[in-house]
Symmetry: C2
Subunit: 194 residues, 2 copies
Amino acid sequence: MVDKEEYRRRIILTASRIFSHYGFRKTTMDEISRALNKGKSSIYYYFSSKEEIFEAVVLYEANQLRRQLTTAIKEVESPTEKLRNYIFVRMKAFAKLSNYYNAVFDKNLDHYEFIEKIRSRYDREELAILRLLLYVGNSRGVFEVRESEYTAMAILTMLKGMEVPLFWRRREIDINSRLEAILSLIFDGILKRE
Amino acid sequence: MVDKEEYRRRIILTASRIFSHYGFRKTTMDEISRALNKGKSSIYYYFSSKEEIFEAVVLYEANQLRRQLTTAIKEVESPTEKLRNYIFVRMKAFAKLSNYYNAVFDKNLDHYEFIEKIRSRYDREELAILRLLLYVGNSRGVFEVRESEYTAMAILTMLKGMEVPLFWRRREIDINSRLEAILSLIFDGILKRE
DNA sequence: ACAAACATAGAACGATCGGTTCGGAAATTC
DNA sequence: GAATTTCCGAACCGATCGTTCTATGTTTGT
């Protein structure tokens, strides 16, 4: 292999697929290596442990989500639609981002530290984005928000509140209608009534 | 618990859900019992081993499929639609019936005997149904088949041939278009051209 | 009320599994 | 052809998992 970094990427992609299906615990190094047509011990040349692979996978997926979110915002113009897109993409993504939850809810995996680190960094980013969206909408006269910081936090709290039940409920319809409900709630409390 | 048989059923249902997600090997007795809010060893009062549970699950799902197929045939009138329905339901069901394949393709599970038994019985049933469909279509002048027995076997062989790749390919579109292709092939070779 | 049966579960056990290490063999680079 | 990179089989060992055993609670029949 010419580029070591490229091969690490391949491992991350493959491991991600298996992790997302079986979770951290049930995924074995043997499976990962077999999926890559390599010997089990060869993986250790690129990653020093199974956990390190998992960390890389979670980080990778977090970055994926970040990109999805920013493009979703840029896609539309009006602040209303930006916020709407943001929430939709976020929720849909989290519904798929099962690795994350497999790890968080696997009580036997008590090494959350790095996940907590990613999560808290992520929270700050999300908060900043939401505040920006609110601020722009405010100055354009579309929103009417006094304290953008706390409103952003309130919205984020709502979104987070939706994450856990999202994990249990399977029906797509349910997710969509719940999203619509949340959205209409947020907008009715936010939109300037003329 | 009043009815022991009822509780066996509950175990089968729960185990089926877990097996179909994780496969035979990765599913632990502990998980099954936890999902039932019971102690691990309590399960052994109803089933004598993990394999016995799995056998019951496979049998249960096979019966489920049988029912689906017969109702799918009864739903429509014309022989063409009957055959069409039959093949569609069969393929869709097999795509979902992952337990079966998890077992068959898990090379470490070398106790196929009971699966082979179910399978061969199933083959005979399917063959009989297909022959009947062809026979009825024939006598109604919709099909033109000389040897319904061998034609039925040929169709069954085609269907079986589709099962394995079905297991690897993920895209729904692909399955559908392949199904259509198979169907049009079968019908063009079967339908009486006037 | 009290056996007999039914139902449950905690503890322990032996076998297997699975993550990791290590030494060295291929393959590639210089 | 030496040096470096990449790969892997074998082995280690702690954890895991299916199963058994024993004991305790719970229902049923009389």
